[in-house]
Each structure stands twice: as C-alpha cells, then as structure tokens.
C-alpha cells in the first residue's frame, strides 16, 4: 500500500491495472471519462499487459468487452452519460448472458440540453438492466469498489455485471489523498477469473445468447431476478473480507449509516453524502443513510434503519420524468410502506446538471422538510 495524493480517475485507473484485465475497450464520447486515457498510457508505457481496444463507439465498447468476457477474459470499460445511454441495449443483453463485466460510470447529466456536469440520471435510468450498481462517496471508495466488483461479479453465486458509479468531476477530476494498494495485496484478494458457465471454447462448444420462447424466457428472467437479489449477501460478505485485508469498510456493503440515531435521516447516494456528513456534524436532529448498492436495492436494510424516524428526507440527483420525483425517493418510500407506523418521507431533487449542493441548501431542505407533507417532493436550488 502507498499513501498518495491523486486525481480520482488516475487512482481508479491504477487500481484497474492491479486487477489485471486481459482486455480494456473504450470510446471517448462527450462527455467522456479519462480513466481509460490513463489506462492507455499505462499500456503504451508497457506497465500494463492488457490488450487495449480503441473501438468506434460506446456501443462497441460494451459489445467488445462482452465478447471478450464470453471468451473467458477479465475485462474493463468505463463510460459516462450519453455513452451509458448508448450502451442501454447491451446492458440488458450482457446481464441476461450472465457476463461478469466491470464498468466504471462517471456520473454525468443526460441531454437535452447537453451538459457535461455531474448528476446521476444516467445510471439511475439503467437500474432495470440486471446490473449491480454501486454508488461511491469518495475516489478511494471508487477504487476499492472496483477491486470488490471483480470479486463479486465473478463469484459463482453471482455471475452478473457490475457498474461502479462515481460522480463525474466531483470524484473523477478532483485530487484526494488515498491509499493505493500494491499488486500483491490485490492479487491475493482477487483470484483469477475462470468461467465455466459461459465460455466460448472450440473444445467444449457452447451456445450463448440463444433465442427463447415465452416460457423459458419467463423462467430465465426469474432466475436473473433471483440472482441479483441473492447477490446482496455476497456484496456484504466481500465488503467484510475487503475490510479485513485492506482495513477499509463501507457500511455493510449495501448501506452506510452516519449518526443515524436522530429523529430525522437524510437518504442519499454518492459524493454529496460527504457534504451531508458536514451538515449532520453541525446539528443534532438529523443523521444520514447512504445507499451504496442501489441495485440490488437494500430494502430490508433501509426498513431496519429508517423505521423509527419522524422524517426521512431523500435527497437525490435524479428525476424520473412523469413521476414527479426521483426514483430513489419512490423506492425508499415504497420500502417503508409496509410499516404500521410510517415515517414521513419527503424528497428533494438536487444537483441536476452539476448544480452545487451546498451546506446551506441542505440545511434549508432539512428545515423545510418539517413543513412538507408526506410524499411531497421539492426542487432544491
């Protein structure tokens, strides 16, 4: 392990290198992430032995890593915003084929209007694809989550693709002090990928991605749903094992609480939780619960830690157009619906297109939440 002061993208790229993917494939859509540029540098300097594919679109980036993974290789790609949207069709297909891909998403706004700054509409709108989605708070967590992601995705009990979602600019472009693990530590934690469930090998011919009639299709979708549900346990388990080895831990892997023994709780995802922690430290009426695994959704964990709250404030960088709220809000509220004594749940849509979410704004939201009715949602700017 080395203590360093590094840009988020650089840190992630260096950790990807330690995970030794065979194949990296990427395309620089607008807005893009420079994680892959750093990786290209490492390959060009001979420091990384991966094959680097310079494909002609984000769609081919995801398609080529899917092909490489089906041929038995560990892969990596990164994307952002429009690029993720372009990948949409293959996100569903690769999950259905049970390909344990790992992709970093630098969260940024979607067109239109075109905007290159941070929010989480891009990955939240891909929530139904069958990918595990981990939202991180710091660049350190992004890097750590990449290591965990390979271990989770490739676990025989899971075999699903994972996106590690890190806030664009806020985490990808800023410098922060971090621990960079060494190669030996990562190799000890991460066994070699050795697939048997889906592998293109002329010695053992297998048909992958077939056509299915309604009944087998229905059964396979149910299997997929069960698989992602059951991955909760593995995500928690790997989070514990990671903590043992690297001395860093992210809640129970699914959610993370901070001073959550107060009458109100803010529920949020990603880097804004850092700011919320500051607010929480300055008050005595509110704590914070960070959703780390948005898919699978930590319903039971949320019920457990929110059931006695007077007010639950969901603050998110997302809007589900036509729903009038963000998706996280509606899902948190749904989770709490089964309680006999329900907390009041209010929502704030914040930070879209990179609008700064300041301490002042968060305090305003907390104070305003007292006056809001259950189910009410406001735009915070």
């Amino acid at each position: 392990m080395t203590r360093c002061f590094m840009e988020g993208s650089d840190l992630v790229a260096r950790v990807v290198k330690l995970c030794k993917p065979d194949v990296i494939s990427a395309y620089p859509i607008t807005p893009q992430t420079h994680i892959v540029e750093k990786l290209a540098d490492l390959v060009a300097d001979g420091k990384l032995k991966s094959k680097f594919m310079e494909v002609e679109s984000e769609f081919s980036a995801i398609s080529s890593v899917a092909g490489a993974c089906a041929a038995g290789s560990r892969t990596f790609t990164a994307t952002s915003s429009q690029g993720l949207a372009l990948m949409h069709e293959m996100l569903f297909a690769s999950a259905g084929m049970r390909l344990p891909l790992v992709m970093v998403v630098a969260n940024r706004a979607l067109s239109s209007p075109i905007n290159i700054w941070n929010d989480q509409q891009d990955s939240i709108s891909q929530r139904d694809a069958g990918w595990i989605q981990i939202y991180v708070e710091t660049a350190q967590e992004a890097a750590d989550s990449v290591i965990q992601a390979y271990r989770i995705a490739e676990d025989e009990r899971v075999l699903l693709p994972i996106m590690v979602c890190m806030d664009g600019f806020i985490l990808t472009h800023s410098m922060e002090p971090a621990d960079l693990p060494n190669e030996k530590e990562v190799q000890e934690f991460l066994p070699k990928y050795n697939p048997t469930h889906a592998i293109l090998d002329p010695k053992k011919p297998m048909t992958l991605g077939p056509f299915a009639y309604p009944e087998p299709y229905f059964r396979l979708r149910k299997e997929l749903s069960t698989a992602i549900d059951e991955s909760r346990e593995v995500i928690s388990e790997i989070n514990e094992k990671f903590a043992k080895k690297f001395k860093r831990k992210y809640g129970n892997g699914l959610i993370e609480e901070y001073k959550n023994n107060r009458k109100m709780a803010i529920v949020s995802m990603g880097s804004v939780v850092g700011t919320i922690r500051e607010v929480v430290d300055s008050r005595n009426d509110v704590g914070v619960v960070r959703i780390r695994s948005y898919r699978p959704f930590p319903k039971k964990d949320l019920i457990k830690v929110l059931k006695d709250k007077k007010i639950v404030i969901v603050l998110e960088k997302d809007i589900s157009l036509g729903l009038g709220s963000g998706s996280v809000f509606s899902e948190v509220r749904d989770a709490l619906y089964s309680l006999k004594k329900k907390p009041k749940v209010v929502g704030f849509i914040a930070g879209l297109g990179g609008v700064d979410i300041t301490i002042k704004l968060i305090n305003r939201a907390i104070e305003h939440s007292e006056k809001m009715k259950d189910g009410e949602v406001e735009w915070l700017i």
Binding site: D22, V23, F59, S64, G72, L200, P202, P205, T207, G209
Partner: protein, 299 residues
C-alpha cells in the same frame, strides 16, 4: 459428399424450407472446421438455429444483439490473443440487415482497425426475419413490405449498397463475393481467407424463397441465375487486386427477375434500367481487372 450428420450445423434447424442462409452456414462450416468461434447478429439464422434449450451449432457460438456481431467478434478475438491463442478463427456472421445497415458502424470499426477476424454477410436482400422489409442490400425495383410495389411505386428506388467495395475502401486484405449456388468456390474462398491475417470480408448471396417469392425447391436455381445474369458477381479482391472468379456469358436479367414475385410488377422500362446497370457494372469491373489497379494503394 459429406454425411450431413457430420456437419457442424445440425440438420433440422427451423429455417423455412429452401432457406439459402442455412446452406451458406453449412458450407461455411465445412470450410472452416471446428477451430472457430461464431459471433452472430440477430436475424433469420440466429432465431432458427438457437432455440433454447436446443442448438444446431456444434461450434462455439454467441449472439448478443442485432448490430454488434462485428464488435463482439473483435472482443472475442482480442481475448484469445490476450490468452495466447493464435489459432482459433473468429467469425462475425450476420444477415444483410445486421451488417449492411444497423451493424455497419461496428463492421467499419473492425475493418478500420484491421482486427483479425472474418466478417461474413449472408445476404437475403431484406429483413426477412421480421417480415421482409427493405434493407440497404435490397436491389432496385424489389417489392418489400416497406417498399411495396403499387400504382405510384416501383418498389425500392435505390441500388443495392455495395458493402464488399466499402470493405476494400477500408483497406481489407481480402474481400470476396460468393454464392450458395457455387459451394466449391465458397469453400475455397473461405479457406483462402482463413490463411490471411487481419480483417477480411465475405459476402454470400443467399436467396430467400419466403421473402423473394419463389418455390422452395428453386433456391439454388435462383442463386445460380443471379450469377449467370450478373445480378450477383463472383469476385475476390486479394491484397487490393480485383479478379472475377466466374466469368459467364451473361443471360438476360429478365430470366432472373421473372422467377420472383418481388419483381413481378416491373415493366419493360425498369427491366431495361436494371439490364443497363448490370452491363455497365460488368464492363467497369472488367476494366478494373484489366487495369491491374491495386485498390489498397489508392486508399
């Protein structure tokens, strides 16, 4: 003649009777042997050969979505290279819709990067799987479900998109046009292509009784007439050098057109336009061959 049960594509896969695409696939596999991986686009052959939990494929085979067979194949090949496998051939295989139209970007990407795979289009000149809509590869004058012939329509108004020549324009070291009516030529060209490194392109003409409107017993006859009338020209472009590999005395194109329902509305006027187009193309290609121009050096 090989015993059909020893083919690498099992008999009884659920294509229409007289399907040209499945004949193309079978001949392709006879030439490649077992050490290959097929990456298929969504399409006729994909839905009829991979009906879960059954499969007709005795070689490793993957289908992801419609427009990405070429990029999936490039990924597969790159993984094999990373693993130190330098012998397994990877083939992106798809219909004209998947290669000429929606997957064109992926095809172009592979050709430009010169990824070491073979891209093979089986061309039934329409989106036959979804009800015979027009594709970029549909010929001029053909009636399809999206270019129906009518009082104010002659069918498709444009000429066929020429993907083989577009492949050459990318610098591909080997490009070939083949037909299921000439299986030996098809297999020879596949074998030759397999010895070449880099992105190679082959285009197989595969008549479709369902989409074109002819009796399912006439598939090979239609395919042969396409070649004999110059509607489909067998050639190869090896390292930039163009060469016709079949040089028949051309029959009138009307013989080919009249066999098919999709052309039955054409009047003398349109048939003449098509005949003139063939004559011109045929002559230009002769000139190209005689000139000895290397198409790769003029890139």
């Amino acid at each position: 003649m090989a015993d059909i049960n020893f083919d690498l594509l099992a008999p009884g896969c659920r294509t229409c009777a007289g399907c040209g695409a499945v004949i193309a696939a079978r001949n392709l596999l006879r030439a490649t042997g077992k050490d290959i991986i097929i990456c298929e686009s969504t399409g006729c052959l994909e839905v009829t050969s991979s009906q879960y939990p059954l499969t007709a494929w005795k070689v490793p085979w993957i289908h992801a979505v419609f427009e990405n067979a070429a990029s999936v194949a490039a990924g597969v090949k790159t993984a094999l290279e990373a693993q130190g496998n330098d012998h397994t051939q990877v083939i992106a295989f798809g219909g004209d819709g998947g290669m000429v139209d929606i997957g064109f970007g992926a095809v172009s990407g592979v050709l430009e990067r010169d990824d070491d795979i073979m891209i093979i289009t089986y061309d039934n000149e329409a989106y036959a799987n979804t009800g015979v809509q027009r594709s970029g590869a549909t010929p001029f004058g053909a009636s399809t479900s999206t270019t129906p012939a009518g009082l104010a329509s002659i069918g498709k108004k444009q000429w066929k998109k020429n993907l083989p020549m577009i492949a050459v324009a990318h610098g591909s070291k080997y490009v070939a046009c083949v037909s299921i009516a000439y299986p030996q030529d098809l297999q020879n060209k596949v074998k030759k292509a397999m010895k070449i490194k880099g992105a190679r392109y082959m285009h197989i003409h595969t008549p479709c009784p369902t989409g074109w409107g002819f009796d399912s017993s006439k598939t090979i006859e239609v395919a042969r007439l396409a070649v004999q009338t110059g509607m489909w020209i067998l050639y190869e472009i090896e390292d930039g050098k163009f060469k016709k590999t079949m040089n028949p005395e051309l029959k009138p194109v009307e013989e080919y057109l009249k066999m098919q329902k999709r052309f039955k509305h054409l009047t003398e006027k349109e048939i003449k336009i098509i005949q003139e187009h063939i004559n011109k193309t045929w002559k230009e290609l002769d000139n190209l061959e005689k000139s000895g121009v290397n198409l790769r050096t003029i890139l």
